[in-house]
Amino acid sequence: MSRSDDDLPPDDELDRDDTTPPPGAEPTAAERARARAFGDLIDKVVAGRAPAAMPADDQPLVEVATVIRAATGKEALAPARSSAIVEAALARAIEGLAGDRGRARERDGVEPTTGGAHHGPAARPAQHHADGIIPLERGWRRRAPWLVAGGATVLAAAAAILLMLRGPERAVEAPTQTASAERAPLPLDQRSRAADALIGPIPRERSGDAVSRIDAIFADRLDGYRARTLSRPARAAPRGGSR
């Protein structure tokens, strides 16, 4: 299919300039007006007052002009603005990386690693050292078992030390209680003692009457034994105490 010249779109303005004006040629009024407008646009962009819209042809020119101006050191951002820009860029990078890994774990169903979702297992450690970024969520989950184990061990050691320290105290208290029990006055009739006071002098005519004497001794000691055992708590009474 053939097309006539009238069907073609109009040529670009630059394409229409078949001849490049010579370097020493005087600019036309139109060129001057256009250069002035472009200079105003550059000034506004550098000053942070970029227009909401600009011609598509002017945008690359503006960016190039901005880079050239910044490279020459003629434009420097305020420190606060520089810090804000850097922090915002880092935050976007971290969030984007963590989001990518989370989505990769969900998709792969594998244990989280330091590498990105697009890396293989062998490449993950290298990626970890390369980016040096460890999500806080992953660091906590890795340390949690050791924190629990360490805490439980410390508690167990503290309990053991406490019990060992309390052991000697109890050992000291036991003799004290025994001594206090021994210090309690034991009635005379409940003590094991000589029978002289009970029997008295033995007349010669009764020197062989040991039966009556042993009966008296047994009866007296039995009274004391019963008084002692019956005055104690029931659990302390010996078995078969009544004879």
Partner: protein, 211 residues
Amino acid sequence: MKLARTTIIAAVAATLAFVAGLGVTSCTGDDDPGAASRRTTRLPEPDDVAAKTDAPPTPIDEQLMLALAQAKNFHHKAKVYMADGNLDEAIRAVRQILDLQFPAGAPEAEDVRLDAHARLAKLLVLQGKLEEAMSVVDGGLAASTRPSFFSANLHTVKGEVYDAMAAVADDGSAAGKDKATTLRKAAIVELDRSIQINDKLQRELLAEPRE
């Protein structure tokens, strides 16, 4: 999974440490310095009586009552044998009293044994076994550790044994009369010793509060 396994291991370690602590404390809290001396299988030692002087009062316990009850039964058994005229069995019953196991350091043990020695000596005298009776008396006095009415009674019995020996020795001859005189003097010495012990003990008892 790894988190759960590590947590379980930590919990087990803590439990083991806790149990070990309980074991250590339970082992260290069982020291009783007086447990060895309270063993029922412990035999009386010679130092028990001396140690008894400074020892705290010993309560009347089951072992003492058991020994006293057995001594009482043997004495009654001997009494029955004597009523039946069986001196040999009576002597055997009284000898069993000397073998009874009393609590270590119990003052009643010495009193009961001295009384058994006295009765045994008198039974042997009735049998005419004077030398054996004297041996029994001497054995009882040698085992005595303190003056008592029972030791005084044993001196009295010893005097009776000497008197019996004198009666046997006095056969009418001059030598027999001399030997009898010597034995009677010995009997008087033993009786005087018995009186001295009784007097001393009575004074001490009068100075002390009565039971």
